[in-house]
Symmetry: C2
């Protein structure tokens, strides 16, 4: 499909926007009128700029409050339209978006609306131009595409057609089924916008909270599929009013926009796959289906000698065994259960650069996949960045790509049998035995800059076909933290993403410590929380202290006997129970270098969450530990 | 009245909150349960901390989902209540807030609700405790105070009373009139919260957007007045869930909270003044009524020699005369029409300290008042900070207070006749004549840190009795700008306050240049915009270039002839027209040292706004000028 985006979706001056749009690979651009008004060059200058950049001007928009206007204003409005037609011809675009009238004094009489639209269409047609009529969700008399089509059908003029905007239909819970009644050649333009579902005024919702397809909660493939079925082959365009996008770097945001259209096309193609009658399926983006993910193969930390020794010590106290050293690099391996942790202190390596930039940090996550090469191809098709590192003798080359923060995601094939990457790359110590019984990585939480959350969600949804849970808002003593968890299909990989717009929360502290995003905590699963915590406590793992008042409240909420409560309190174990009877037991360590911490977790009876009910007490305890360490540092 | 605040209204750990509450001068505190749960000390420790700080624990809250609970859970809920009663006794408070049940499976049968509340009241009463029942706006069966009173009346137990929360009534557009039916001694507690009027889900609105009385749009005096009429003399308490407050410095925010209660009391006292039957009026805060303001007497800029010379040059090109030098200080005066501008380069002065901290900036605003001493007393009563500077021989002492950013607000008495402050403090040059015809200061716009807007609004509303217009949201090319204008009664002083949460907007640039808040622009009114601008242009005032596309659009929107449009464009004059036919003509200068700029403005036919329709084009032109100056700096 032709892929287009409205200038209003991006931040910056008009030239900055156009350059970003072209660089991201869009075919065209909708010129939002205000962007033109505020630009010091002429419309002809804009036309030339677009031509030089290789993007078409797909639409000029919007033309407001025309049809059904007060009769004494009709002539003035036609004059106004002619001036805008002049401008369109200078711009070199033939299509203008006419959005339904919102004026309180506008007329709703069907005959008048049809006459007005025909009049405008005749004026446009006489100049070789076209008008596309769109229903605003808050239009005074016209606010559904069904009304729009009813009017356009009656106008019956070749220069007058329908424009769709998914937001205006889906925000009002409209049904896209009747789109099938519209001939494809009467659909002049299609705008696709997603949004979180918010219980608020639809105009405010539309103006501030739209987002790219895949970042919100609308069923956009379900909206696009009937449009494709009509035979429509015009542009798919993004018109996104979003407060964050207005301030985001336009180049990176435009890349997200294009990726979101590819994602929408893939999902729509899947939806239509069974429909042998559906036309033009080959116009929709195609890429290999996502790999099945089977959990985390290993985590790699960038360290120097001192941080490596310290982190190794923490992990050994957590029950890990020092399992081996790399054959050719300053890299060591710690193992326990299915968990593999690599500490990389190799100079002149990717990890070293990462350490220089961010300090001790998680620099790579290796995921178990069925077919790494195909998974990488999919990522590349989605405009991801592949990575090839140095490969030493006897080392295996692992397909890898960059995460949005520049860290690496390795895609490790699950060999049917034979030697593992640890056998090939490490000198393993067969005598090394873990002292703990931690089993696997349950989840890894990341701390991200607030404005980048939507971008990360889209990255994982498109390149890796992950799913995203709903956002939850959690109180830190010094502000709010928002969390949105990503999951691979089947949930073998779980990544809660955390952001905070406030300066003194735990998330903000981690970000400032990393000078960027970074891992916030890593949760290890186990089968017997008390046994694991007892062992960790004896080994000297610094556990996060939980206030006794928390356990008093547990006593009021649940039917625990005093002995069990004392045990929970003694070991600082937090507890949660879901509506289905699923239970969660978990403990946290204090923070490693004010950056990240570990969690030991036991899920019972199918508990699927992350203990959101306990996050506030954990954040308060962390704030107290922080101020304690500040006090210590001051002494 | 006793003034109280809920711990949830402030940021920080429980000790930080309590210290801030005591320091601000509150008499008491509501302990929000979670704040206790997350605190490492015992309830007895909290009791002692409050006693040491001299604040009473006025309420423990909330106790949720009790009345009408599923019958199989009633016993468990009573056990839960007894545990919380234990806790209250350790805390040393006798009142708990029971909020109406929100559980989907809760029962709404009136008899059951009455029985449950009576049962809980008997349990509480037996221990010398009391329960206050409150309607949540989103309660499952009970969501109005009328329902609450109906149930409490039937319970008829001395330990069971009503709790009011203004938000829960006013968010549902409830009528406070029926409060008069409730005996004062059955009202156990009153929570006052304001909020902006938002068309959104009431639970989300309540949890994130409440604000202190006077910062929102609710008629809180209208809600409190009938409560006072009942004879209620218990605490007035603030329970404010606000995302910004959760991250704001608790000490300053608590001061705002107290100030907001004083403001509410003053307005309620005024409302009740005519009611000779109203009891306890003397319990409400009293202070001298605000002075009448008659415009800006002078503006004082902190400069050094170089900045002073440069700014003086700009002002002279804008038509100001160098009217005099201070008798004893390095201070000069520029005048035109009713506008007086003082440039202060005196070492060891307040202005010098301000210059050191913020660079060239507005350090004082002098307002014309009827009675400066009384106006100052009012500010002090409202916990404002008076200021006394050095006064030289033959200089007049002017009452002054600190604005929230540390700059000064002088309160200059309008002498009936006799010598002015300029006669007494300055050696005036009788030969100095302005070359321009600017008349007065129309408005002064300030750039503020985003999180401080509500605090500024409250400051001006309470200390100076200004009014606040609604907030408007305006697009800068690099993000959004929000603006809320303050006005003295009769609008002789107008202060649009501007904030932006984005890093690269014009407002953000001004803030970073000032290292704090500062003046963003100053608008001078005139009677003939073209004459003034022509003169300014000839004198070399750098006017902000407005794109020609803007004038093409004016042509499409209004019935101007080409000659008039050309004149507007030639002089870079922006135009707006309001629905009543009021007209605005205005031009902007480029920025002085990337900090502030001047506006020349002509209002016609009673135009009262600030040209919001033109702000976007102005911000875009400013962004272009900024990037132009960046380019120049790079060359």
């Amino acid at each position: 499909m032709h892929r287009s985006i409205a200038t209003v979706s991006l931040s910056g001056t008009l030239p900055e926007k156009l350059e970003a749009i072209a660089a991201a690979g869009f075919d065209g651009v909708e010129i939002f009128e205000n962007d033109l008004l505020y630009y010091a060059g002429s419309p002809r200058d804009v036309r030339k700029m677009c031509a030089d950049l290789g993007i078409a001007i797909t639409l000029f928009q919007p033309f407001r409050d025309f049809e059904g206007c007060r009769r004494d204003r009709l002539q003035r409005n036609l004059d106004r339209a002619e001036r805008k037609f002049d401008l369109m011809q200078e711009l070199g675009t033939d299509l203008v978006l006419v959005c339904s009238n919102v004026a309180a004094d506008s007329l709703g009489d069907e005959e008048i609306l049809v006459d007005d639209l025909r009049l405008l269409g005749e004026r446009a047609g006489a100049r070789g131009l076209r008008i596309g009529y769109e229903a605003l969700a808050w239009g005074r008399h016209v606010n559904t595409y069904q009304q729009v089509w009813n009017l356009v059908r009656q106008v019956d003029h070749s220069a007058v057609g329908v424009i769709f905007d998914s937001f205006h239909t889906l925000s009002l819970k409209g049904d896209p089924a009747a789109i099938a009644d519209i001939p494809g050649n009467k659909i002049f333009f299609v705008q696709m916008a997603d949004a979180p579902v918010l219980a608020m005024d639809v105009l405010e919702w539309s103006r501030h909270f739209r987002c790219f397809p895949g970042q919100g909660e609308f069923d956009l493939p379900g909206f696009l599929a009937p449009i494709i079925r009509t035979g429509y082959t015009g542009p798919l365009s993004l018109e996104i009013f979003n407060d964050g996008f207005r301030a985001a770097p336009p180049r990176a945001n435009a890349v997200d926009g294009l990726r979101s259209l590819l994602y929408l096309e893939e999902k729509t193609r899947q939806l239509l796959a069974a429909d042998t009658q559906a036309p033009n399926l080959d116009l929709l983006f195609d890429t290999p289906p996502a790999s099945r993910y089977h959990g985390v193969e290993f985590l790699e930390f960038a360290v120097d000698e001192a941080a490596g020794a310290k982190l190794s010590g923490w992990l050994e106290r957590l029950g890990f065994a020092k399992a081996g050293e790399h054959r050719s690099k300053d890299v060591s391996l710690l193992r326990q259960g299915d968990i593999n942790i690599v500490l990389n202190a190799e100079p002149y390596s990717f990890a070293h650069g990462f350490f220089e930039a961010h300090g001790p940090s998680l620099c790579a996550t290796a995921l178990k996949v069925k077919d790494g090469a195909t998974a990488l191809q999919r990522a590349i098709d989605y405009r991801g960045h592949p990575y090839r590192g140095l490969v030493g003798p006897n080392e295996r080359e692992i397909p890898a790509m960059r995460a949005p923060d520049g860290s690496l995601i390795y895609l490790v094939d699950q060999a049917e049998a034979g030697e593992t990457i640890y056998d090939s790359d490490f000198k393993l110590d067969p005598a090394a035995v873990p002292t703990g019984s931690l089993q696997r990585i349950d989840h890894m939480a990341l701390a991200l800059p607030a404005e980048s959350l939507d971008s990360w969600v889209l990255f994982y949804k498109s390149l890796l076909d992950f799913e995203a849970d709903d956002e939850v808002v959690l109180p830190d003593p010094y502000g709010l933290v928002k969390s949105r968890a990503l999951r691979s299909r089947c949930s073998s990989v779980r990544l809660p993403l955390n952001i905070s717009e406030n300066r003194n929360t735990a998330i903000a502290h981690a970000l400032s410590s990393y000078r960027g995003s970074g891992v916030h905590h890593i949760a290890f699963s186990c089968e017997d929380i008390f046994k694991e915590v007892e062992r960790a406590k004896e080994a000297g793992v610094p556990l996060l202290d939980i206030p006794l008042n928390y356990y008093d409240d547990l006593a009021a909420r649940f039917d625990f006997d005093d002995e069990f409560l004392s045990e929970l309190a003694y070991y600082n174990v937090l507890y949660d129970r879901d509506a289905q009877g699923g239970e969660l037991f978990h403990v946290y360590t204090e923070a490693f270098e004010e950056r990240f911490f570990f969690e030991i977790i036991q899920r019972k009876n199918g508990y699927v969450g992350y203990g959101a009910a306990n996050v506030a007490v954990r954040l308060a305890a962390m704030a107290k530990a922080r101020s304690g360490s500040v006090r210590q540092a001051k002494l």
